[in-house]
Assembly symmetry: C2
DNA sequence: GGCAAGCCGTACCGTACGTTACGGTTCGGC
DNA sequence: GCCGAACCGTAACGTACGGTACGGCTTGCC
């Protein structure tokens, strides 16, 4: 471990779950991580150093020089993908009910799309597998770029909705978690456990709309009779 | 593999996700599986055959004779624990709103208790890890004894509530999934990913009550103005 | 007592894989 | 053209672990 992005430096990753997406990766390194990612998605847990080296057409020596050890490679791979996941960014300036509803629906749809993707499933699986055995940085990375990133984007929208008198809730965090539950339901755990559960574009759209309607029914401001 | 509960018989487990809890386990075998379970919960993924044998004070030869191979032992362990998990059984005969609400709250509380237990987390982790690599029977077992068992118990209650004019929904499955989402929210995925998230008795009770209220707000029959 | 079956403890085997080492090749700088 | 750095491909090493074999001990049966 001399030079290069020292992914295994304890002081860097262990204490700080904050993600530094710009870890100064060269294009070649990104290509290697992409190869590792593809392998992870396709082959499941068969992510051996030899396989990654072969897939990326690089030598194992290079992998070790760049990433320290297997855990470093895994962490770098997860961070690399995580840095690419972005759900809709919405400005909370559209103050009417229609645009708020549309924003929520967009968030819901994006999120369902993410958690049902092969990549997300593979990443969560590997992070969960590693969460059991000591070093839990992978889990923290996934959470930070998944559930918490979503919250960070959605909460301002909720707050804006409240400011505009469209939403009514006491705590933005709690409201977010309710929305999260209404959107995700049992989808993620079933997919992670290997349950076949095909989500087409159509069903995702429907689910997003349903979740949004339910959330508004729970937290929409009571301005007169709500009927339809 | 001669005699004994042939856990690895393809024809038994592969095609049939239904659980046969009474697999004719001797007391000694149960004790061994309990030891394996404890090891799984305590040591995470360090569930080697040698470790199980030492912990259970039995020989590896016996493990292989009884369970076929490592996967068989794992499957037997998961099934053994799964057969012990039981959430509240409720008869749908208490037809008033108070008892329905109490039943739902009980289900919610039990479920939160289950998914936040060390045992459940460990089991789900190992099942998810294995779901990535081929044979997914573990995931099916966990799902069948977790989420699907819950649905099987809760749906009759929902149907009874609808019959009694207390609930209003089109599809029991969809209604159940909404309830599931309101109860679980992000708890399970966060725990699986290693997020510290202490759930005390008190918070679980509060969460169960909140989820129940929200569910009733969404699916309670509209009999006059709802305003508390 | 004699015997067979079941099981414990342990040594052993084969392999997979993480990790290291090394020869050969490419490439930028002078 | 020459040099060193970076990197590829591959061989080699060490170890952990799944799986097997075997000697000795206990137990139930005759």
């Amino acid at each position: 471990m001399t030079g290069g992005p020292a992914f295994r430096e304890k002081s860097v990753l262990h204490s700080v779950p904050e993600i530094d997406t710009s870890e100064a990766l060269t294009e070649r390194q990104k290509a290697v991580l992409d190869a590792a990612l593809r392998l992870l998605v396709e082959e499941g847990d068969q992510l051996t150093m030899t396989a990654v080296a072969r897939r990326a057409s690089c030598s194992k020596e290079t992998l070790y020089k760049w990433f320290g050890d297997r855990d470093g490679l895994l962490t770098a791979t997860v961070q690399w993908q995580a840095s690419k996941v972005r759900v809709a960014q919405v400005d909370g300036k559209g103050l009417d009910l229609a645009s708020l509803s549309a924003s929520l629906e967009r968030f819901a749809s994006d999120w369902l799309q993410v958690i049902s993707s092969d990549t997300s499933i593979a990443l969560n699986r590997v992070a969960i597998s590693h969460a059991g055995s000591g070093k839990d940085n992978l889990g923290a990375v996934v959470l930070e770029n998944g559930r918490f990133a979503l919250a960070k984007r959605l909460k301002p929208v909720l707050e804006a909705g409240r400011q505009a008198g469209l939403l009514d809730f006491a705590d933005a965090e709690t409201a977010f978690r309710t929305f999260f539950g209404l959107v995700a339901r049992d989808v993620q755990i079933r997919l992670l456990l290997g349950d076949r559960l095909e989500l087409t574009e159509a069903t995702i759209g429907g689910d997003a709309a349903r979740a949004t309607q339910q959330f508004l029914a729970l937290h929409g401001a009571k301005t007169g009779p709500q009927g339809l």
